[in-house]
Each structure stands twice: as structure tokens, then as C-alpha cells.
Symmetry: C2
Subunit: 115 residues, 2 copies
Amino acid sequence: MTIGSVQAPAACCTPLAAPRMSETEAATTASVFKALGDPARVRIVNLLANAGHPVCVCDITPSTGLSQPTVSHHLKRLTAAGLLRREQRGIWAFHTIEPGALERLRTVFETGGTR
Amino acid sequence: MTIGSVQAPAACCTPLAAPRMSETEAATTASVFKALGDPARVRIVNLLANAGHPVCVCDITPSTGLSQPTVSHHLKRLTAAGLLRREQRGIWAFHTIEPGALERLRTVFETGGTR
């Protein structure tokens, strides 16, 4: 046993404070992270972030090497998760990053995060 | 057809600039998001962020309502994804948030993100 020889800023087996995040909040946030758990969706979000303006699905397709139905599916999934905002313009749907999307994810990592 | 009647800041079907994120980078980042795509892991990360110091698995268990093997499994998954740092102290393993974990995820959402 070498516990005594190591500096321990936290006493072992002193339970932490009650969770700051409710189960409902955690489930909602996890579903957002889950939507980003796919390389194609990560690239689409990064493309939209770099564009900085609403982008048509037809403008995204050439940059991803994916078919338009596949890109549309990913956009739908990201929009449903609250990461993108969708705007219909005539026959085309344009997407932008939802303001505050990153902010919501960031709270998980911050002291005093939620509540 | 109502396209002409709507103000369009982006011309339709003008391909975006080449992706700023390589497929390898996107795959790595997606695997980190995927690790967070679980409510229990979101809560554990939030608990550790709020603790602000290395925490023993035995201190996490009471706050989550999960068994110690389940918490250990989640900690292993989060550590493998690069989100947590693990430090062995005698018989106990302590975990902290990996500095820079959030920063890496944030780049996905930022202009000029990666590269």
C-alpha cells in the first residue's frame, strides 16, 4: 500500500456534492453529443461553422463527397438535436449553426455548469 | 417558385470552400462526441468538472446511483476518448477532466476551426 506516500488533494471516499445536472438534462445533452458522434456530421457542422451564413444542401454536397439524400439525412439529424437551424427558401432548405449550441455543450465541462 | 422573392445571402449551388477538417480529424472528433453520447457519462464529466480536482471512483459512485463497476466502465470509456486523465494512487484510480478536451471539441464550431 503506497497511498500514504502520495499527496492526495481529495480524501478518498468522501462523496462528491450532489450532481448539478438532472437526469433529464443529462439525457438531452447526451442526445446532442450523440448526434455529433459521426464523422460526416462533424464535418458538416464544421463546414457550416466556417461558412458563417445559411447554406443550401446543394452547396454542402460537393464538399463532403456524400450524396444529397445522405447529406439531407445528416442535416435532419443535426437539426432535430438542436445543433442547426433550418430555413426554407422556396424549394431549398438552408441551414446554419444554431446560436448557443456550443454554449449548451460547454456547460457540461464548467464549474457550476448547470442549475 | 418563390426563390426570387426571398433575400438569399448565399447564392444557391455555389460549392463551399474545401472542408477544413480531414476525414481522420473528423473521425477522431466524432469518437470523442460519441463517448459523451450517454447520459451517465455526461453526468460523470459534469461531476468531475464541478469537483475541480482528481476524484476517486469511490467518490463518484454515490452521486450517480450507479454501481462501482459501471462507473469504472464509463470512466475507462471517457479516458480512452481523451476526455479524462487517469492517475493511479495506490489501490485507487483518480480521474480529472483532461485539460484541452473541450477546446478540441470547440474547434468544430469555430470559423477557421482546424488546419
